[in-house]
Amino acid sequence: MTRLTGPGAVAGAILVILALVPVPALALHQPFYLALVARIMIFAIAAMSLDLILGYGGLVSFGHAVYLGIGGYAVGILSFHGIDNGFVQFAVAIAASAMVALAIGAVSLRTSGVYFIMITLAFSQMVYFLAVSQNQYGGDDGLNIRRPSDFGNWLPLDRPLVLYYVTFALLAALLFLASRIVASRFGMVLQGARSNERRMAAIGFSVFRYRLAGFVVAGAMCGIAGALFANLTLFVSPSIMHWSRSGEIMVMVILGGMGTLYGPVLGAALYLVFESVLSRVTEHWQAVLGPLLVLIVLFARAGLFGTLAWLVSKARRRHA
């Protein structure tokens, strides 16, 4: 077996740690940590899916939380109408997110720069207010979900440990899928379009349809995160797709490292640990996060992931 590179070692370490978290959490009778890390992994899926279009595609989408909402409401609304089958719920969550992404992308990808940021933000606000206005599904107050998605007796999602490992398996599978996608021909087109759109046209690519496809894939992946989030909290409300939530997901990507896929996992962990630990000390916890974000943007463009990978490579060279 070949030795792992710096980024490979960090990526492997992340997965191993996530796989082992339940051991100490259960041994110490601290189920809170199980829920916290499950939440981290769910947001990691959302942030990783944004990284596909933001980090690799260069598309600053400021409405990515919409797909969390679509996925969450797919579970909530189906459950409300008595459809608890998990396969149906997740299939609808993925399909609905993909279709909304197709509609939003088809319009917004015709613009670029600030206009693109604004138009994706505007679309996400439209969906947000649409959810607020749905009084039969709780409107502003949200919708309680009676029971989690039903995948049969062999996968009871109401048991925290099962939900934890289902989330972990989906995160690992989606990370693998995304890493294949970014290295594929399709991924090269996405990255080429980020690097030099005019040159892409000059060698014969119409980048629009590739970007749209990337937008749809990212939306569908985030829809899975939304469906998992609904299962974790057994509740879904419009606040899940508030524009500030889209900002949080983007911060996770930037903290962890754009264009690294595993970086957003670290970013989600850092952000949510800060939120849950520091918010107990002070309600102004974002005053600590803000400067940290500035430092990372200024001094560590590859984010937390890039910095760790660099440290691992350096340590290895010293030992070699």
Binding site: A183, M188, V189, G204, F205
Partner: protein, 250 residues
């Protein structure tokens, strides 16, 4: 006279009151290296942008291999075999030289909705890309990030990328712009080697290169064609001497 590969008829493009291209009719014959010269501001870049499909003309028509392509966009024209290089080097700076050419090869290899196999280990893309890099003299620089290449190497890389799209007509917009004398002299034999294999429309300031390479030369001044013909004819034309060459002779 053989049927032209590309022909423009009465091509006109205005920017406000300025006529950048005025009633330009020219014919590029298959296999020839046709050079376009003219003083700064003559409308050379505007003309090439219309041929490539980046700008649409206000009047007139463009024919490629006998069919009207005036309404086609850039990717559609590339698919027909019209490819261009840019005056200001335009490459993928984050990619290696080999990645740059491989992406251009990929553009010609059907659709890219392929999500699974790693593109960087695909011999269908890598082998032709390596061959093209070798042809243009960059074989030893394949794995260097494009951003770290010298200016001359980047221009050569750009030509390799354009060739990767297997063009029938190559639009070269001042390939020697910004090059040192030595680099420019190195590029001339590479261009000479392309001659005959592909039809070339060359916009260039470097007169030595133009007179060394071109089969025919068209001279543009103030957006209009003032002369078109072989090198000797152009050298002797009094209007050309006045409008353009005179600047250098004086």
């Amino acid at each position: 006279m053989p049927e032209p590969l590309l022909e423009t008829r009465g091509l006109t493009r205005r920017f406000g009151g300025l006529v950048a291209t005025g009633d330009v009719s020219l014919a590029i014959l298959p296999g020839e290296l046709h050079a376009l010269i003219g003083p700064n501001g003559a409308g050379k870049t505007t003309l090439i942008a219309q041929l490539a499909g980046e700008l649409s003309p206000d009047a007139g028509a463009i024919f490629f291999a006998g069919s009207d392509i005036t309404g086609l966009g850039v990717p559609a024209r590339v698919a027909l075999g019209i490819a261009r290089s840019f005056q200001i080097t335009s490459i993928f700076a984050e990619f290696t030289a080999l990645d740059n050419v491989a992406l251009a090869v990929q553009a010609r290899a059907g659709h890219s909705f392929r999500f699974w196999r790693p593109a960087r280990r695909d011999p269908e893309l890598r082998n032709p890309a390596r061959r093209l890099l070798a042809e243009i003299g960059l074989a030893g620089r394949a794995d260097v990030p494009a951003a770290s290449l010298s200016h001359g190497e980047r221009r050569a890389l750009e030509i390799a990328m354009v060739l990767a799209t297997r063009p029938r007509l190559l639009l070269l917009d001042e390939p020697m712009a910004g090059m040192g004398l030595e680099e420019a002299e190195e590029l001339v034999p590479h261009l000479a080697a392309l001659k005959g294999k592909v039809t070339i429309f060359l916009v260039e300031h470097d007169m030595d290169a133009v007179f060394a390479l071109a089969d025919r030369i068209t001279v543009l001044a103030n957006g209009r064609v003032i002369a078109s013909g072989g090198a000797e004819y152009i050298r002797a034309d009094p209007e050309v001497r006045r409008a353009y060459l005179g600047e250098e002779a004086a």
